[in-house]
């Protein structure tokens, strides 16, 4: 299987051959940053387009089809529009916090995006508490949302922000616990180790019952984390006009918009990494020739393919279910998901201790 590390090493050696050590590191950092941002923007545009097409087909519509073949560059047009739109200067707001909020949100999602192993050897930060770091940075976003709601000096925004605060803090627990289940199984918090541990079978299959439960809980909690339907209470269109970003215009709003899609991507790719074997191809123990054929498919396709499937599932339930009410939302977490998760963790420990897994 092709290892992206060969490319990165080659670049590294090339730079070092004619640059001093510190400068080379600096240049590499900048290059990586640029690549990440580029990938970020690209993925966001693709996701926005995909979401529109997917929901259009669910709704017996066609969706965008005028710009580019099948409307593929619709989201580019949207981005240009958003960039040229006025940033309204509003009276009676906390200007500093108001302008800071979208950046906090976007930075949180870029940081989380940076942790993901996209393919074999294509991994920016890989250290021993990688998954812990990921949870930590992804929850910074909530600060941005709270700031946005508070600084807007708008009652809708404030209600939206408070809702999302309650929601995210609650669902953070479920995410943490379901990830903990995986950590118990693999015995590592390092993302690369977790992925490599699934070389002989994805966790979802190896960990059978507890892993499946953890996967489902993770998907539900992850969707709630990203404020997407049916958990889109913070920006509930029909209740709070646009929730915490009601007062934002132009690219400030664009940041929230992008971050929403990227967070969805991050949630889906973490699900892929933890439960579906990350970039690992599908291997069935014993079927040697099948495994070899699977190995020919580059790891990056595996990763994006699996993530795509998870994203599709997330979109699917966004466009199917009605929105929850705030008390239902909290009840779901505290009364059902959390106890289930704790039980599941216990179950996983039993599975691991007695070696009941495959």
């Amino acid at each position: 299987m092709f290892d992206f590390a060969t490319i990165t090493h080659w670049v590294d050696e090339l730079l070092r051959s004619f640059l001093p050590h510190a400068t080379a590191t600096l240049v590499e950092c900048i290059l990586i940053g640029l690549c990440l941002l580029l990938g970020y923007a690209l993925i966001a545009l693709v996701l926005i387009y995909a979401e529109r097409k997917v929901c259009a087909f669910f709704q017996c519509r066609i969706g965008p089809n005028r710009v580019g073949p099948y409307g593929t560059i619709q989201s580019v047009a949207d981005m240009i529009k958003m960039l040229t739109k006025e940033l309204i200067d509003i009276n009676h707001i906390d200007r500093f916090l108001f302008n800071l909020a979208p950046f906090v949100v976007i930075i949180a999602s870029v940081l989380a995006f940076g942790c993901i192993p996209f393919a074999k050897g294509l991994h920016v930060i890989d250290f021993n508490v990688g998954i812990f770091f990921l949870i930590a940075v992804s929850s910074i976003g909530i600060v941005g949302i709270l700031l946005a709601g508070w600084a807007s000096n708008n009652k809708y925004s404030l209600i939206g922000a408070m809702r999302s605060g309650a929601q995210m803090i609650s669902y953070e627990l479920s995410i943490g616990l379901s990830i903990l289940t995986v950590v118990v199984f693999t015995g590592s918090m390092q993302l690369s180790t977790i992925v490599e541990g699934q070389a002989d079978g994805w966790l979802l299959f190896k960990g059978h019952i507890p892993a499946c439960i953890a996967f489902i809980v993770y998907l539900i909690a992850g969707t709630a984390e990203t404020n997407r339907g049916p958990f889109d209470l913070p920006e509930a269109d029909s209740e709070l006009t646009a929730g915490y970003h009601t007062e934002y215009s132009g690219m400030h709003f664009g940041f929230f918009y992008l971050a929403e899609y990227l967070n969805m991507f991050v949630v889906a790719s973490v699900a892929t990494t933890l439960f579906l074997g990350g970039w690992m191809p599908l291997h069935v123990p014993g079927w040697e020739s099948f495994n070899q054929i699977m190995d020919y498919i580059p790891s990056i396709f595996w990763f994006f393919g699996k993530t795509g499937v998870v994203i599709f599932i997330i979109m699917w339930f966004k466009w199917t279910f009605p929105r929850l009410r705030i008390d239902q939302l909290l009840r779901l977490e505290w009364r059902y998901l959390l106890p289930l998760n704790l039980l599941n963790l216990f179950l996983m420990v039993i599975v691991v201790v007695f070696k009941l897994h495959f």
Binding site: R66, D78, T84, N91, S249
Partner: protein, 186 residues
């Protein structure tokens, strides 16, 4: 839709007449391409025309094909306002405020007889005689209510208008803050 198939292109020719230099022109074209293909309406409707507006968004007519995809409920994020329905005296200040809340560049489409001129209610004591007495209207769509096809035609007319505008140095100007009756900056 092809250029020749529209019947009223004179106005666009006027807008186009004032030429620009090459670099700015190219950039303008890109920006205008983006802007015209991504016009997001504000969800705003007062009466019957609003139902037809919903129908245009729904499965059979589906305006998302043209990039009108996202109807935003917050005026800050909308690009144009479809004044769909009668505007009465009590609503006029609200509508004005909504328009003021929108971010530039912004457009107005007057939908239906009532918004165009007062329509069947022109003689009423409480109806504004056409929304153009309060807002600068870009496109008028007559009808009571206009059919979805008519709405679509009007929206595409707006796209065409956006396409030929000068964005840099034209539409994109920083306006001075105006003052309201009480002397506060708005």
């Amino acid at each position: 839709m092809k250029y020749e198939e529209f019947n009223d292109n004179e106005y666009l020719e006027q807008l186009r007449a004032s030429g620009t230099n090459v670099v700015v022109g190219c950039l303008d074209e890109v920006i205008n391409w983006g802007r015209s293909n991504s016009l997001w309406p504000l969800t705003f409707a007062t009466s019957c025309c609003g139902i037809e507006f919903m129908a245009v968004g729904a499965a059979r007519y589906d305006f998302s094909r043209f990039g009108f995809e996202v109807t935003r409920a917050s005026p800050r994020q909308a690009d144009f306002i479809m004044v769909a329905g009668t505007i009465v005296h009590k609503m006029a200040p609200v509508l004005k405020r909504l328009y003021d809340q929108m971010a530039e560049p912004k457009y107005v489409i007057a939908v239906g007889g009532c918004a165009v001129s007062g329509g069947p209610f022109r003689n009423s004591y409480h109806v504004v005689q056409g929304v153009d007495t309060i807002l600068p209207v870009d496109v008028y769509i007559p009808g009571c209510p206009p059919r979805p096809e008519a709405l679509m035609y009007g929206m595409i007319q707006l796209q065409r208008k956006v396409k030929v505008e000068r964005f840099l140095g034209g539409k994109n100007r920083k306006e001075k803050r105006s003052k309201n009756e009480k002397g506060e900056e708005v």
